[in-house]
């Protein structure tokens, strides 16, 4: 997805997204924040990426991909400006976000998508590839790169700050 496509999206719009997502949640965000505060180099490039707030389950035997689904986005609101500054175009998760998140979506012209929660077996079928990018010691909280096909998204906050909840 590109910046000009992001700006055209409106709340409630449903998309079948095919492409790349960066999977990270609480602990990985915190680690990135700590690295930034020390002026250390980050182990991931987030420029023009979409971040999916999730932590996958272990994969079944003979498969690389386990159940995966969104976690509560609001917990990540305190890191949102940090990742927008790193070039993130949009975020994917579940549930309503804080007023701060809405303001940041307007300020940086970014969007927030939701994807169905409690549907992790279904969503895992949209994941074609997964690999760890950083912090493998965190287990399900490591940073992953996934390639998805026809991944269901709904625009929950658009670049004008309109929100669905």
């Amino acid at each position: 997805m590109k910046i000009d496509e992001i700006e055209k999206l409106r709340i409630g719009e449903l998309l079948q997204y095919t492409g790349e997502l960066i999977v990270m949640r609480d602990a990985a965000h915190q680690k990135l924040l700590e690295l930034l505060s020390k002026n250390s180099q980050l182990p991931v490039d987030l420029n023009e990426k979409i971040v999916f707030y999730a932590g996958p389950a272990n994969p079944p035997k003979n498969s690389k991909i386990g159940a995966i689904g969104p976690t509560t986005s609001e917990r990540m609101d305190k890191y949102l400006e940090m990742i927008f500054k790193l070039g993130v175009l949009g975020t994917v998760g579940k549930g309503k976000r804080s007023d701060l998140a809405v303001k940041l979506c307007i300020k940086y012209k970014r969007v927030y998508f939701i994807t169905p929660s409690g549907a992790a077996a279904y969503l895992s079928k949209c994941v074609k590839d997964i690999r760890v990018l950083a912090f493998p010691e965190l287990g399900p909280e490591a940073i992953y790169n996934i390639n998805v096909e026809d991944f269901p998204l709904m625009v929950a906050i658009d670049t004008n700050g309109n929100q669905i909840f």
Partner: protein, 273 residues
Amino acid sequence: MISKREILEKLTNHIVQVNETINPEVKTYIDEYKGPFSQALKENYKIAEVEKLPLCQDTGIVEFFVFLGNEVILEEPIFSTLSEVVEKVYTENPFRFSLVSDPLFERKNTKNNTPPVVHIFQVSGKSLDIKFLVKGGGSENLSALFMLKPSIGVQELKDVIIGHVKENGAKGCPPLHVGIGIGGTSDKAMVLSKLALTKSFKERNQNPVYADFEEALLKDLNTLKIGFQGLKEGVSVFSVHVEYAPTHIATLPVGVSLDCYLCRKGVVKFEDR
């Protein structure tokens, strides 16, 4: 004596099953739902069952409610058996390790989803009933304790509960199961609110006054129009259950626990013959 092996086998199978198979009471509601993402929710439970995948990636923290008969002899302390059950379930299935040992500083993953949370209630006789919840973190974060004044009326208490669900419900993967614990002490009220979540939707409190309170709350909560996924369509709350206990003259503790739409729970019964 009830053998460790018997507990291990029956409970392990049941916890795996509730992670992979849709709660039959919930299934009816999903099948009727036609709003946003309805197709994904319907296909999800079918894929999970056929492919032995968990319904949700958050396979939870397991919380046990052990009703232990005073004439029961156990092969080993119940906590260690239950810990072993959880370790077996989570290391032998494609589930997620969602527990960290030190909650504040290190937050290091235990890599087997142990330890579980265990509450033991002694009862009379030779039976051992183990109820359990597979509790996701998203809905767990919406738990609340209200220390209210004893003079609060029923309507005011309803308003407190409704206010809490209205403010937070959309974040807990609705439709929700609502557990209310009234009385005891602060900690007891919270445990009772969790125990309330182990009930099936149609069960009502044996005390008709509390049963009416459950029904009235359910009706009121469903006027909130939270809906599936918090998107305002479909039912908001499946059921409300209250557990209560005697309390101090100066207090009225009220615990509120919410369970996500999957309502993963079960009960396994044993007999010491």
